[in-house]
């Protein structure tokens, strides 16, 4: 009897407090906290939540909670069942049969079927910026409502990784398949999801509120009641919020001072996370520019950059050295490349050999240097490079772009000499690496294509072969040769791999520790009261 009364009172109370000005009335007290509320602080504001047509961590993190992918990768990069119970690769490696769970439903109660998987994969193939993820997919056929067969034009070793986390969110066909171009579909900011959390509210630029989906196909997961992503305009306020306990997670610590301050917070757990993302920061050269067409000039500049100074002093020893196009955490990484350690003598000699002699005032060459905006590190690096390159007679004109579109336009239209940039591997080289080095991807007007206009037929061959090679050893060897050649040709100077540091308050138990870090479903974590 008493229980019923209490529920009545709570319901009445909720109705009374339901007269709100802002926010949705929610019966907070009635739900016993199972896993608590996790508040994630981030400076990355997503445009919308549909990761099927949008790349980038800003979208992937919330999308991983809202949508389920066919498989999940465990800590050892091995695929585990998730939405798909099992999968079978055909002997000729040209088709994969996915068998889905029978008990999976969307947040509106409709069952998740092979039709939705087919629709999702085709949508990603046709719209997602990473064309190479599902490029080789000819068709997806349906055997029965639980079974979809992905038919490939050629063997595609990257496909399993592509099916993990929010690289392949399974989106509902009955919502998104209405004929509207999915890229601009109005439900992108208010989707019906398939994942462990369902969307409560998304205020662009402010916050994302998600809560546990009670009919999720894993019975005792997720454990959290709620996830709130709070978006901060600048890293300073995010850091302050973490120190004050206003947020439970700091998604991306970027410099040594932040790291030091976070470590002072009692019981804070700092994690070097998400090795699968594989970011590489580099100085890219426009090889179409006559000043930089000669490989010796580019190599000279590379030799004049003191990478140790950059890593230790400028970046405060937070990150590791990048020596080639493939990130060091990848199984395909090869260290068999020219390291371009500081060597001013060699740099000067190369420039002499290339016929770039000093003029009257000692200046051999004047170049513009750009940088993707928004990074204080890059700004500092531009200044450092300006000073460093005077030692080989190269004068730099530092150019600043006020915002991303201006910079992107400049680089995509090839109106640049050199630019600092940050490009991610995204797990398998096919997804994030090939796009920069393939001569077929020289596409003026498109950012993050082969804007360096780099063309090496042997590299094209190796990449094409590696994209289809199912044998691990053979694949590693192809990539080894490719890395050696790219580093030697020096279309970019590889600088460092920025580590993703995540910080969790002490009360967060079981923080995500997989290969995608926070960009995976946060199913196992809880927040202690």
């Amino acid at each position: 009897m008493a229980n019923i009364d209490r529920r009545h009172v709570l319901k009445a109370g909720a109705a009374f407090s339901g007269a709100t000005i802002f926010g949705i009335p929610f019966d907070v007290a009635a739900q016993a906290a199972k896993g608590g509320v996790l508040v994630i602080g981030s400076t990355q504001a997503p445009r919308h939540l549909n990761a099927a047509v949008q790349s980038g961590v800003a979208t992937m993190m919330p999308a991983a909670q809202l949508f389920a992918s066919p498989i999940r990768m465990d800590k050892n990069w091995k695929p585990q069942p998730y939405l798909a119970e099992r999968w079978v690769l055909s002997p000729d490696n040209r088709s994969i049969q996915l068998v889905l769970r029978k008990d999976a439903v969307f947040h509106d109660g409709r069952p998740i079927t092979a039709e939705d998987v087919k629709f999702s994969i085709e949508t990603i193939r046709d719209n997602h910026p990473f064309k190479t993820m599902y490029g080789p997919v000819n068709a997806v056929t349906i055997d029965n409502p639980q079974t979809a067969v992905i038919r490939l034009a050629e063997p595609h070793p990257a496909v399993l990784l592509a099916m993990s986390t929010s690289l392949t969110p399974i989106i509902p066909k009955h919502i998104f398949g209405d004929g509207t171009d999915v890229k601009i579909h109005p439900r992108n900011s208010n989707p019906v999801g398939s994942g462990p959390f369902r969307l409560v509210e998304f205020k662009p630029g402010e916050h994302i509120v998600m809560e546990r989906f009670d009919r999720f196909f894993l019975k005792d997961q997720p454990r959290l009641d709620r996830i709130i992503v709070r978006i901060f305009k600048d890293p300073g306020s995010l850091l302050l919020a973490f120190e004050r306990g206003e947020v439970d997670v700091h998604q991306a610590l970027t410099d040594p001072r932040e790291l030091a301050r976070v470590r002072k917070v009692p019981a804070a757990q700092v994690v070097k996370a998400a090795p699968a993302i594989g970011p590489v920061n580099w100085l890219a050269f426009n090889t179409k520019s006559p000043k930089l067409a000669d490989k010796r000039v580019r190599q000279a500049i590379n030799f004049a950059i003191d990478k140790q100074y950059l890593l230790k002093t400028l970046l405060g020893d937070m990150h590791s050295r990048a020596t080639g196009p493939i990130a060091s955490g990848s199984p395909y990484f090869s260290a068999d490349v020219e390291k371009y350690e500081l060597d001013l003598a060699r740099a000067n000699k190369l420039l002499d050999e290339a016929g770039v002699k000093p003029g009257g005032n000692g200046v051999r060459l004047t170049l513009d240097i750009d940088a993707i905006p928004g990074s204080a590190d890059f700004k500092a690096m531009q200044e450092y490079l300006k000073q460093a390159l005077t030692k080989i007679g190269v004068e730099l004109n530092v150019r600043l772009s006020p915002d991303f579109p201006s910079w992107a336009r400049r680089i995509a239209s090839l109106q640049f000499d050199m630019t600092l940039d940050s490009v991610y591997n995204w797990g398998d080289p096919v997804i994030g690496v090939h796009r920069t080095w393939l001569s077929s991807n020289i596409k003026p007007g498109v950012i993050w294509s082969n804007t360096q206009s780099y063309s090496n037929p042997k590299v094209d061959e190796w990449l094409a072969a590696a994209g289809q090679e199912m044998n691990l050893t053979k694949r590693k060897d192809l990539y080894r040769q490719m890395q050696k050649a790219v580093v030697d040709d020096c279309p970019v100077a590889f600088l460092y791999e920025p580590a993703f540091y995540e910080a969790y308050q002490g009360k967060v138990a079981n923080p995500p520790g997989g290969i995608w870090g926070l960009n995976d479903p946060v199913n196992e974590s809880t927040v202690k009261a």
Binding site: D234, P235, G236, S237, L240, R257, A376, K379, A380, E383, Y384, Q387, L400, S401, P402, D403
Partner: protein, 299 residues
């Protein structure tokens, strides 16, 4: 506002009486105004620092002068500390004034030029000219000032020239209305009608007879506009929408906007500089107002 007339022809004085020109009279009043003199002194100091400071100090504001986030008043060579990149704040303060004040002056020039031209033509000619120009003024008045300037600057590359034009384009309507009111009032004065009757040409009349008399409120208005333009440029720079290759006080605040809690000096000092400059300009402007309009001695 009540105005006094300053006829361009000084009436012949009876013998033995000293004639003080209106300009000297104005200066006398100004000099006696303590606040105005304070403003003038302050302004002169700022100008002086701006002009000779960077040369004397000799440090390039864009160079990395030391470790980032160095606190002020701690190190010998870095009196005002460094910002998040390690750039010398004092160097920035000295050279920053130039861009800030130059933009303020240039923008004020544009504002006044457009405003006086439009307003004088409207007020003098009346009729359809007035209607047309007043409608134009209304149109520009409806445009949101800061927003529209932000749009202009972003769309057309944030160089100093664009910033100056943008500020000028959104600020001229106030001056236009003032000029229009003045020219309308002065057009109907007896001696102007007389001159017209004698066949004087419009342009000559406007420039030589009316404009000098309309000057006092316009000068005061122009002074205030300089202050407004400085604040405007500072605002645009703060938002990151000014020329990134020019060190101005607003730029310093904007560049360090993301670190204000750790690097409060990098934003507080340039802000104080802007404040003092605008304050001194306002004091001078007020003083001019009192001096050129003696009937307003209502302190």
């Amino acid at each position: 506002m009540m105005q006094t007339q300053h006829p361009t022809v000084t009436p012949a004085a009876p013998p033995g009486v000293q004639v003080i020109s209106p300009l000297r009279e104005a200066w006398r009043v100004f000099r006696g105004n303590k606040a105005a003199m304070l403003g003038l002194v302050l302004l002169s100091c700022i100008m002086l620092l701006m002009v000779v400071g960077p040369g004397l100090y000799g440090v390039n504001a864009f160079d990395i002068a030391g470790a980032p986030f160095t606190e002020p008043f701690v190190q010998q060579q870095l009196w005002l500390g460094t910002d998040y990149l390690g750039r010398d704040i004092l160097a920035g303060m000295l050279i920053g004034g130039r861009a800030t004040v130059m933009v303020g002056l240039a923008a004020a020039c544009i504002t006044v030029s457009i405003g006086v031209t439009v307003g004088s033509l409207a007020g003098y000619f009346g009729g359809w000219v007035d209607t047309l120009l007043s409608r134009l003024t209304e149109l520009f008045q409806v445009l949101p000032t800061l927003l529209f300037a932000m749009v202009l600057v972003t769309l057309f590359q944030p160089s100093l020239g664009v910033v100056v034009m943008a500020i000028g384009l959104v600020s001229w309507t106030g001056t236009a209305r003032l000029a229009r009111a003045e020219f309308m009032r002065l057009r109907h004065l007896e001696y102007v009608s007389a001159a017209r009757a004698m066949g004087a040409r419009h342009l000559r009349l406007m420039l030589r007879e009316i404009l000098p008399n309309a000057l006092p409120p316009l000068i005061v208005s122009a002074t205030l506009i300089i202050g407004v333009a400085i604040l405007f440029e500072a605002g645009l720079s703060f938002l990151g929408l000014s020329d990134p290759n020019v060190m101005s006080w607003g730029y310093m605040i904007g560049a360090n906007r993301r670190n204000i809690l750790e690097c409060w000096w990098a934003v507080s000092f340039p802000g104080a500089a802007i404040f003092l400059t605008v304050l001194s300009v306002s004091l001078v402007g007020d003083g001019l107002n009192d001096a050129l309009n003696p009937k307003l001695h209502l302190r």
